[in-house]
Amino acid sequence: MGCIEELKYETILSHASFKECREYVKEHFKERIEVDPGFKIFDSYIIGIPPILVGIEGDAVVFPYTKPCHGTFLLRIECSDEVDRLRKKR
């Protein structure tokens, strides 16, 4: 999952629980997509407990990113191509 760390990202939540990230997306983003664990986003696989919510805000994707030692981070990355791909998934 090293690829995401090389992208320009904004950290919305850090060292959070998976549930906290899910609740944040639910509360703060009107446009949301539910994906399965293992769903590929920015060439990385989403690790998590279903239901996994990914938020969309304009051209940005907001999604949970889990690391074994640091918990889950809620990241925001601008990428219209990824937004289009996610919207097509619906």
Partner: protein, 178 residues
């Protein structure tokens, strides 16, 4: 329900690169997914499990972050207990993409991330999943694991004895008292 360790039919081998790591044709396989190595009991239990499973004729691979891999290699320099190690992210990618099909998977969790990894394994793999939950928050974490798996829960941090006892019972390694 306790998953059956006996496997029927064709056994698919892991790891993804058998030419490098030497899969053993015809043997059942187990994948141990380790979390952050900050809680001492994890490494002892992982080496114990690997040893017992290998003695049961199961080829064991252990996945973890770079620190976990270094801990294993330093603790077991002659590879008596763990013969194959792999990067956790690579192991997850192989499971998700269906490139590996371990006969059993054992996930270790002492934090929220560990449960997330186990949930992902449950979603992408049909193999029996054992989830070893330990550390100071063991009971609370166990409540988050609502997916199908065999949970082994013990509030162990430094002393692995009680956790080992529970593992022995679940895997059928407990000494007979009769």
């Amino acid at each position: 329900m306790r998953p059956n360790l006996r496997v029927r039919g064709v056994v698919k081998m892991d790891p993804a690169d058998p030419s490098k790591d030497g899969g053993e044709p015809g043997k059942k396989t187990a994948l141990l997914l380790l979390g952050c190595p900050e809680v001492p009991v994890q490494m002892g239990i992982a080496l114990y499990l690997a040893s017992r499973l290998e003695k049961s004729g199961i080829s064991v691979g252990v996945a973890g972050n770079p620190s976990v891999i270094q801990l294993i290699r330093v603790s077991d320099p002659d590879q008596h207990y763990v013969k194959r190690v792999m990067n956790l992210e690579k192991a997850m990618a192989d499971l998700i993409e269906g490139r590996v099909h371990p006969d059993i998977t054992v996930a270790f969790a002492h934090n929220d991330a560990g449960i997330s990894y186990a949930a992902t394994v449950r979603h992408v793999s049909a193999s029996p999943l054992y989830l070893i939950i330990f550390g100071r928050e063991a009971e609370a974490l166990a409540a988050l694991a609502e997916f199908e798996c065999e949970k082994i829960v013990e509030r162990a941090v430094h002393n692995p004895a009680q956790l080992k006892k529970k593992i022995d019972k679940v895997f059928g390694w407990a000494a007979s008292k009769s």
